[in-house]
Structure formats: C-alpha cells, structure tokens
Subunit: 349 residues, 2 copies
C-alpha cells in the first residue's frame, strides 16, 4: 500500500483539491472564495505542422507574480486572504487549475472556423510541493520529496483512468527566466486528449529500439549522479546546455511500476539534480522539468525518464530559442554535453 | 535580369562578403582584422526525437550587444574600428558568419561518441539590411527593401547550388526579447545539410494537399494586410499571439520564381507587417521571422511562406515556451487569432 493519506476536498467553485499527507489530514476547511469557474478552451489543428494547438483565452487574466502575502498556493489563515488551499496546514496539495488548458467538461469549439477544431478534453492540475512559500525540489526534506513522488504517482493513475486521456505529463516551470508566474514551489500536470508530437516521436523511437537501454552502457562521461537503479546524465545529444535526464536503469513505463525502494531513490535523485543546478552558480537555477512516461498503449516499450531543460548558456547569458530552433526545429548548442556533465558532477561533492 | 549589382570581396580571414547595390560598388577596401577563422561545428543525432542537434562550441565567445561605436555590421571608417564590412559605404551586405553552425569545410565529429554523429556541412551567412545602425524592415526605404529581397533571392540560388545543401532558410531574430546580440538591422541565412524537422513535416503536409491554397478562400477575418498577389494573415491555428504569415496567393516554391512585380509586392508587404507590429504598442515589436521555401526536391508541391513569431502575449507580458511547448510540443495560446488579426488590422490605417 502506498505510504500516504489522501483527502478529497471539493472546492466551492466545484474544483477538486487533494491533500496528500504522511499523517491523516483532519479538521474543517476555512472559508473560501468561489469565483465562477467556466473555462472554455478548445483545440485547432495546425495543418502544416500536423499538431493540435490549444486556445485558452481565459488564461490572459491569470495571477502573475503576486506578493508573498497574496500567494494563492500558501495555506489559508483564519481570517486571512483565502488561498487556493482552504486549510491552515497541509503537506502536498493538488488541485484543478483555475486556468486550465484542458477540462473534463469541455465546450464545443467555436463554429465556422476555417480549420479542423475539437474539444480540449482532459484536465490540468497544480501540484503544490510544500506549504512553505520558498524553496525547491532541492530544499524539500527527503520525506517531503518522497510524499511528492507518491502524489505524482497517484495522479498518474487517476488521470490515465479518465475517459479520453491519452498522455499525462507532470512538469515544472522553475524560475522567472522560464516564465513562472508564482514563486511558491509547485509544478503542474497536464492530461492530454491526444499524444503530443514530442511523445509521438519518442514512442515511435522506443517501438523501434530500446534507445535508453542501448545508451546506458556507454554513458560514462555523461553521468552526473546516480542512485540505486537510477541515473542522472547529460544526454550526449542534449539540445540545451546543462540539459539533464533522470531515468531508471531498467525500463519502466512510468513511476507507477516502481517499487517502494525505487520511489525513494527516484525522489532523492531528482532532488540532488536540482541541488547540483543550484550549486553550479550559487543561486537558484531556472529550468523546465518534464516527465515523459508512456502514452496510453505504449507501456510495453516506452522507457520513463525526466528531462530538465535549463534556459542558461552561462551564468549570465540565457539560451534563447530563435530562428533555427523555432522555425526549423534544429537546435544549435554552444556547450558540449561532456563538459556540462563534468561541471554538474563537480558542482556538489 | 535582376535589377542589382553584386560585388564579391574575399575577407582577409578567407570568408566571402557580397555587396549588393542598386549602383555599381567601386573603390578599394579599407584595412581589416584577420583573426583566425577555424569553426568546427558538428552534428549529433537525437535518437528519441529523431532530429539532428548542432554543436557549435566556438559560438560562446560571440559578440554580445556591443556599443554603437563597435558595431561590427556598420560600414568601416578610414582610420576607425575595422568592422565586418571593410568599405566606407554599402547598401546590402551579406557575409559568412564568423560563428557558424554549418560550414563548407566541416571537420569530422569527435571520435568515440555514444550516438550517431556527422559533419555540420553547409553555410551560415549574415545579411546586413542597411548601412544605418538603427531601423528595421519597416523603416527601410521601398528601394532598400526591394534590394534586400533580391539579395535574399540571390543567396537562395547560390546556397541551394552548394553540394549537400538540402534546405536554405533566411531568418531574423529581432529584439532583445528573442536574444538578438547585435542591434544593427540584420538577419541570417542557414543552409542545412538535411531537411530540418519542421520542414520535413510541412513538406509532407504539402505533398498530401495544397494546405494554403485550400485555406485562402476562407481567410476573411484572419487577413491583416495584402498586396498584389500576396496575403499577410494570422493563421487560424497560430501558435503565438500575434503570429503572422506572409504568402503569395498562387503557389511558389520560393522567391526565386517570383516575377519582378511580385518581388516588389512581397518586399512591400513584409515591410508593412513589421510596421503594423511596431504600431501595435508604439514601440519596436520583437519577433522571430523565418522563411519557409521548398526544401530540395519539394519544389513541385511546397508553398513558400514567411512566418513571424512574436514573443509577446500583451504589451507587458512575454509568451514563454515552457513545459507543454518544450516538453510535449503542444502550444497553449492565450489570444484568439481572429482577435489578434483585428488588432493588427487596426494598428495602421
């Protein structure tokens, strides 16, 4: 049995909030706001790139870098500002995003569009890593990080069970350099009604050959860190300077097949990768982190892994995606993976 | 015959410089620096995404936002700082990039890599739009913009003639928000030794159906501007707020099949799109602009078009590419194309 407690609270506006804890979570909720929740995203098909684009016009108004005392991801206080989490304390909280790109009750797309369109069915969730307003995956305690890993796993199972969901992706946008709009340590989960293009291509590659299993025996100079059964490495074909992947040494389709020991090793290694990033320049290191688990139907060949994309080229310079990356899909990288791997190995003892 | 003069100057370090003019360009060159030019980019294959990644480690040292008096793209002055263009005046200048991602004499990739690797064969050029240090496609005179269009066309013909080149892409990264490192109005051209992923997908789509010819009759509310035989429009499936495409109404594989009249209309419309962007918020509007012409062998079905990707969501907010865009390849857009098209139509009388 997974070593955590879970409590469902239905928010006043109808959204679900799950509280995950190592101890049972008791006590009544505090008062909450109930602004109407009627998101209406829709999909349009890009006929040249062959991919869906999501239109979520309601997102323009979303909360943008609020001051700490109005952080919507902190616990609520008696008589204080009502946050997204109407409880005076929690450990890990997951709730339906108020500005979702996909929703379970998606309305039909506008009529008369000159391109194929569809419903943006699915679900978007926010994962609050800790009640503390500051910190990161690196500063959580080992216990907190393990609970978080179990929460991700629980969400994987719940979201893949939703009708129509084809791919589930936990991710984190960390740092203002990647456009984060809230500082409180958190990530998100998107449950997509289609297999997105990147996962389509990765699935096809894994169907043809066990790409990661073939790579691991030759990974020597690219390994950044390891834990029982898991590797952190700069892929020898990295598209970003300081790109790091974390993967189990044996193939798993997703964290849902990890043993309890593997869950703990995975959580520890993720935390240590972020600690290495932060140690590199002595300050929080911005990154986008995405989980690539098997899309629906790819469980037999897909190899779960986490990809970190940092936007930095050097301490002071950002890597911008521009003409060749955005317009052609070909990345040009200034730093060699074998050198960034060395720097990340040296960043922590 | 194309209505311009062209002069080749071989720079001291061996790189080619082409001067394009409406008048013959005479007079001797000024003294120039000759730092060694030994770029050594190479390719590695990303086995999961199925795409080439370019490693160009020498690029870390490239010139970054120099003060005006050290701008390498200005004309040189007698006794002054030697710029990339050792002439006291010019109209449009094109030279081989000192920090190239592809080169004609590419060395072999490092040995012993754990992934497939290859030579970064090809060529990268810088296109200087004007001798004036400030300005943009919008502020060039009509004559200057037309000369620039002919220079692009001439480079298309020269670069597609190079052995091994499969795709040629003029592009422009405009504005610090997209990482531009030099303010002087300029663009670049990459000649790739493979068909990059985005062009692979577009080519396949065009092989299956004439996507743009089918779209144009239903484009009413998405049209932003037009010129004899050309449309500027927000694609109804835009991936960026304020994305604009410019395309000939009849199918052309690239500008090399335009008539002289079409060259002029194309140049005028490009300039007016940028003028609309700049008028939108009353200040220079950052964008990435890419030219999508037919890759080698796709001339029979590919429909040439220009894509502008602006990084802005609103006047004050940038659109960041993050988890879902970078990690899944699915774009989430806050603004509806029909609304941004309306705003861009209204931006200029």
């Amino acid at each position: 049995m997974p070593p955590f407690y879970k409590r469902l609270h239905r928010k006043k506006d109808g959204r679900e909030l799950f509280l995950y804890g190592l101890m049972p979570l008791e006590g009544p909720p505090l008062p909450e706001d109930a602004e109407p929740f009627r998101p209406a995203p829709h999909l349009r098909y890009h006929p040249l790139r062959g991919e869906w684009v999501v239109y979520a016009a309601h997102r323009q108004g979303r909360t943008f870098l609020p001051p700490k005392e109005h952080c919507p991801l902190c616990p609520s206080r008696e008589g204080g500002f009502p946050t997204e989490i109407p409880f005076p304390s929690f450990q890990v909280a997951v709730f339906e995003n108020r500005f979702p790109s996909f929703v379970e009750e998606a309305p039909p797309p506008p009529e008369g569009l000159p391109v194929a369109a569809g419903k943006a069915l699915g679900r978007c969730e926010v994962v609050v890593y800790t009640p503390a307003h500051t910190g990161s995956l690196a500063t959580l305690t080992e216990e907190e990080r393990l609970l978080l890993a179990w929460a991700w796993r629980d969400r994987y199972e719940a979201l893949y069970a939703l009708p129509g969901v084809r791919f589930v992706m936990p991710f984190e946008n960390g740092g203002e350099a990647v456009g984060v709009t809230l500082h409180h340590p958190h990530g998100q989960i998107y449950a997509y009604p289609f297999v997105p293009p990147v996962l389509e291509r990765e699935s096809q590659a894994f169907r043809e050959r066990p790409v990661l299993l073939e790579l691991f025996p030759n990974l020597g100079p690219y390994v950044v860190d390891e834990e029982e059964g898991f590797l952190a490495f700069v892929p020898p074909f990295a598209r970003y300077p300081f790109e790091v992947w974390v993967a189990p040494v044996e193939r798993h389709p997703g964290p849902w097949t990890f043993s309890e020991g593997e869950m703990a090793a995975f959580a520890r290694l993720l935390g240590r990768v972020v600690a290495r990033y932060d140690a590199l320049f002595g300050e929080p290191f911005p990154y986008v982190m995405v989980f690539h688990a098997a899309p629906l139907g790819e469980e037999a060949t897909f190899h779960f892994h986490v990809e970190f994309y940092p936007p930095r080229r050097t301490r002071d310079k950002l890597k911008f995606l521009a003409g060749t990356e955005l317009g052609a899909g070909t990345f040009v990288v200034d730093a060699l993976p074998e050198e960034t791997a060395k720097a990340l190995r040296a960043a922590l003892p």
